[in-house]
């Protein structure tokens, strides 16, 4: 049961302005990336689909019971929107292309396993890195917001624990605990994303274009 998400939904239903701001700020960018990957990076189509999905999600919010995470629930609505979009016009069907067919499986793991990364068949390191980035971004999007945030503060912004604690308004010990849980969740998410990630020798920086920081 996703109690925190259920409470957010309840606050939204009661017209809580702060809840709406938090909901939109957290869910819109993640859902946009979720859709963008499925519409061949077409921003216009993604905008329409996300707008429609979020509008429908808000309209159906009273049906949300917290069995799945709110983000997964929104993704499911977005999948239906994409399927509708796909069916409506031949032009949009062409624009959506094979990504919809390939990725829109009911389970996250299955959907992301369909992204092929085979170092022998696909020697292009740049492309390999892009695919890896897509998987990592998808994993971060599926994590609870505070997990993804603390990982990005730590490893992208290179902030020390004390600075993260100040940024998040918690103690340094709480940050360390949060980081530990976030790393575990991230690794679980990545594992769930399939073998594509593990078949890549991501531990060797020289195998990927651009190297590491």
């Amino acid at each position: 049961m996703h109690e925190e998400d259920r409470q957010l939904a309840q606050r939204l239903l009661l017209g809580d302005e702060a809840a709406f701001r938090a909901f939109f700020a957290d869910y819109f960018p993640r859902l946009f990336r979720f859709v963008l990957r499925r519409v061949d990076q077409d921003q216009e189509v993604a905008r329409d689909a996300v707008q429609s999905a979020l509008t429908r999600a808000v309209a159906k919010l009273h049906q949300y019971r917290g069995e799945a995470s709110l983000f997964t629930w929104c993704c499911q609505i977005a999948r239906h929107e994409l399927a509708d979009l796909h069916a409506r016009t031949a032009r949009e069907r062409a624009a959506l292309g094979s990504l919809v067919m390939r990725e829109d499986e009911p389970e996250v793991r299955a959907s992301l396993e369909s992204i092929p990364v085979d170092s022998e068949a696909e020697p292009d390191a740049v492309r390999q890195r892009e695919e890896l980035a897509a998987i990592v971004h998808a994993a971060l999007d599926y994590l609870p917001h505070r997990y993804a945030r603390v990982l990005e503060l730590k490893y992208l912004e290179d902030l020390p624990v004390e600075a993260i604690a100040e940024r998040l308004g918690v103690t340094a010990i709480a940050v360390q605990s949060l980081l530990a849980r976030a790393r575990l969740a991230f690794r679980d998410a990545c594992s769930a994303l399939g073998e594509s990630l593990e078949s890549t020798d991501w531990r060797r920086p020289d195998t990927l274009a651009g190297g590491t920081r």
């Binding site: 239903l13 017209g15 189509v45 991230f186 990927l208 590491t212």
Partner: protein
Amino acid sequence: MRSPGMHDQTGNDAEASVARLVRLAGVRPAPSSAIEQSVRGAVERQWRAQTRLPRVWRARRTWLAAALAALILGLAWVAVKRAGEAPPAIVATLVGTRGPVQVLPTSANRLVRTGDELVSGTRIDTRSSGAALLALGRVRARLGPQTLLELTDPQHVRLLHGQLYADSGERIGSDRELIVTTEFGTIEHRGTQYQVEVQSGRFMYVCVREGRAAVSTNGHMISVHDGEGLRVAGPSAITREAVRPYEDRWRWISEFVPEFSIDGRPLSVFLEWFARETGRRLMFVAPATRAAAERTILSGSISGLSPQQALEAVLATTSFRFDISVPGELRISMRSNGTVNMGSHAAATLAATDPS
């Protein structure tokens, strides 16, 4: 098949692995602020409508009652304050009218004049046989007969009944320019030419001649592209059909066109205007014909003429001839003998010169 997994690693290795992956992937791409604002507006409208449900009212009766009382007091205060303030902002200009057109309530029910500036809250009624042309920001909107339109602001109008044709000129990208609200849904203008028809209580019909419109209805967002029409008669009565840009449903638009100045402009520009107004594709029989049309400078006026009358009148003063016998096409060629025929419409006021 799984290689030695992350779960097998020791603490430091595991952290290093996570760090490396996050760094390799880099910052997650963010949608543009324009897209965010656009989506947020639509979602917030839905959310606010949702929170007005009776269930919520019951849940927060006390709070809402107090808020309502405060709101009434606030509105009363605003009303008193506004009594001594400047009039509401101008949101549109009346570019032209034909027949009886009434503006309510700001003109005290008088018949309006071209050039009148219209403020937020104004309603325009074209009655049984009138027509009106409005400038709403960069969009020109034509209203057909039996149309009732309410102005909200330069980007928002409410079509209560009748026909509205929106044209933003040449293709300018995908920025939102005009939002038309109807009882059946909302239409966002993301192209250049489209038409909305509302028969109150019966249906809404949106067709796009060029560009794209996004229709929001019953929680769905539906894209309507050029060459398509969408009919919405209820939550489960949505149909789509093909619409040609030159078919009869667009005819009323050609009967009431904005003024187009030809004086001092190349013939080619006039021909492009005609093609655009009538939904035809401009075709020159030879590159040399196009070049000659670009060199030919017009003088005079086509004021008061329909597009076809103007075409006949203008070309009669030139060495060009036209052919519109093929649906959807405007073919331009040169007269073989170079003679000039004076047409029947306003020929005396028109002339063309070829500097070459």
